[in-house]
Symmetry: C2
Subunit: 412 residues, 2 copies
């Protein structure tokens, strides 16, 4: 089974928008074992859209068209499909009714051309709207099929999961439910992770279901994604449970969360469990740790605030660090104690380091000292040397520091 992708829109060719849709579709297709050999971008020109689709359909069983379903005269996906199917466009009363209702609800006047979105190639079936006004389409062309979805990412994601992937699976004769689970990891390179999961990957290759993929996410760590196909949602999730345990058996020490978890949400949850509050003292990161923690809604229950001690004398005068080298484990621990005291928090987290371009206190660029101060009065510190240019080193510092705190909280 092969499925190619055609993204429609002149703005894509002009680079005004990056086409992330076809990457997303490619990833989703791969997860269910469907090959995608060609992905095209084409502008809002009927003849060229038809040509591009014919090319994409030539060596494939299906294509997914993304975009060009809007109401304006340069939205030509419906016309292109009708031309490829050799049929005319017919007005769909049900779609028109939904569009009219939507405008009425928002108390906005509906322009006449909005009813263009109620046109459907004769013989096509409709994928009901998500939240926008454009429905998707499933259009048979001989023994092949053209799917059409809006270019708005969240509408496309929804229709892909709800209608297209199941339809593709059914056509391929495979089972109809897909479920996936992501294990979030921090602390290993992709190649090291690959090595540690070598046996699991071989076993999975042999059974073929679920599939396992690594998604390198830069300073967010590496995601390990399991995708299972099955007849029912229940058996798909059983498969995921079984293999999650098998994967965790090899790499549980570096798994910090599942699915929508982030390092900061996990740390906040652990603190909440203990009933503890957090204060930070940031030098090299200049506020990024606080910035990231406070991006989690509800963080105010746990996070009190902190001190950005960029200049050394703020470390000494505000945080009470003793004079001496400020990029050191000693300074990091005293900063963490200072953060607890100044913010009145139970737990203090502090970072001091060298982001470059020049070294500092005889420490090389990339050096990061992390300090943690706990409610029992103890302090702990560690030193890492992180890679990357200024921005990258600082972002790595944030997640490395949060992970150090997480590991301490887990032992308490």
């Amino acid at each position: 089974m092969r499925c190619n992708v055609v993204a429609v829109g002149t703005e894509l060719l002009l680079g005004q928008i990056v086409d992330t849709n076809s990457s997303y579709i490619g990833e989703q297709l791969a997860a269910i074992g469907i090959a995608s050999h060609l992905q095209l971008k084409v502008g809002d020109n009927l003849e060229r859209i038809v040509d591009a689709c014919a090319t994409a359909l030539q060596d494939a069983d299906a294509i997914i068209m993304c975009g060009g379903l809007g109401p304006t005269h340069d939205d030509l996906t419906r016309e292109a499909i009708a031309s490829l199917m050799g049929v005319d466009l017919v007005h769909d009363d049900e779609i028109a009714r939904v569009i009219e209702e939507m405008f009425a609800m928002r108390q906005r006047r509906m322009a006449a051309n909005n009813l263009r979105q109620a046109l459907v190639p004769r013989g096509a079936s409709v994928i009901p709207q998500t939240r926008g006004t454009a429905p998707g389409l499933i259009c048979p062309v001989g023994n092949k099929v053209i799917y059409a979805v809006p270019g708005v990412p969240h509408e496309m994601h929804d229709m892909l999961a709800r209608a297209i992937l199941p339809d593709l699976l059914q056509r391929s004769g495979a089972s109809a439910v897909i479920a996936s689970r992501v294990l979030r990891t921090w602390g290993e390179s992709e190649s090291a992770l690959n090595e540690r999961l070598d046996d699991v990957i071989s076993e999975l290759d042999a059974v073929g279901n679920p599939t396992l993929a690594f998604l390198a996410s830069g300073w967010e760590g590496i995601k390990v994604r399991l995708t299972a196909k099955s007849d029912t949602s229940e058996t798909a999730h059983q498969l995921l449970d079984t293999w999650e345990q098998r994967v965790r058996g090899e790499i549980n020490d570096i798994v910090f969360g599942v699915d929508a978890d982030t390092m900061e949400s996990v740390v906040l949850d652990l603190l909440r469990t203990h009933g503890w509050t957090l204060g930070v003292a940031e030098s090299v990161t200049g506020g990024l740790i606080g910035g990231r923690i406070t991006n989690v809604a509800g963080s105010s229950e746990v996070f009190r605030g902190g001190v950005i001690s960029y200049a050394s004398d703020i470390k000494f005068d505000v945080l009470g660090v003793e004079h001496g080298p400020v990029v050191s484990e000693r300074a990091a621990m005293q900063m963490a104690q200072g953060a607890r005291r100044v913010t009145g928090a139970d737990v203090g987290l502090a970072v001091t380091g060298v982001a470059g371009p020049d070294e500092q206190d005889g420490q090389r660029v990339g050096t990061l000292c992390i300090g943690v101060a706990l409610p029992d009065g103890t302090s702990h510190a560690t030193t890492s040397v992180l890679p990357g240019l200024r921005d990258q080193m600082r972002q790595f510092s944030v997640i490395t520091a949060l992970d150090f705190l997480r590991r301490h909280l887990l032992t308490l």
Copy 2:
């Protein structure tokens, strides 16, 4: 003149990497008036690469191939081009010498297959390497041309500017030098900007050179880019100077910088000019302002640090804010004074607001109060209501606050 794009790499189809290269190329081509009607992604398979290139070349004068120039067996761009040209691959001594030197310099062993990168389709000319080991190629095919560049973005950008765009311009019979200038703006929507520049755009449309484009960059504001073509670099820059003045005549009040300037670099430069240091007090942004300022290398000369006063009692106890509503201009000004005092800085900048999901102090989600405290002891404040969900509102807060400070510094 038409130039299509073929991005090569199975990882692109699988969605492991988003193809940003063809968007970048499309944008650059549009800036010099060359049309791009079709952009394709194809995997590492010789037959399919050849087919994709033939398709892309069919209605175009040129194609740019991106990727597949590495040393491994699945890097097939050279072979595909040789097949399309109907020639064999020949070993280029000069390329081989450069590759061998590069490995020697890094004191690394060179694998034999690295010399695959010294193979060149007979009749092609070479675009010398940027910093990697892969050279680019200019390959005539009848009266058309195939360009090949590495998929590594910075190498591709360099070869495009240095060799491909000038070659395309020459082939199109146009003048040979392109230069561009970006005016960074903050404070207007794209449609408002468009309206204010209506006359300038009409004049530019009439003369055709330079071209003007808007690049919406979310919470970085909107960039107005002028791109000029000319015979010499000098006359191109004269054109840019003239039209920059013309554009500034209409929108100078919202231009905060040029080319590589950022809001934070501009604010730091202004403070440096006055010989002043900066301290911040952040509530709703939780550290993002400090995080962004300290991403500028050399910011430590100007930025002393700050207080993340997320919990209200840190505003009262550490910053000395009087008890009362904390999302208010009064609180913002007192926070800014507190930031000056705690950090020992000349200038204080403070933000307090409501990122949601719930309102606070009777203020609706999106409310932002900004306070500035200046060396003369005066304080100033303003209130905005910003759009967007939590993350977006907070990022808008950062640039809005920095812009408020910038406008005050400009009057001093």
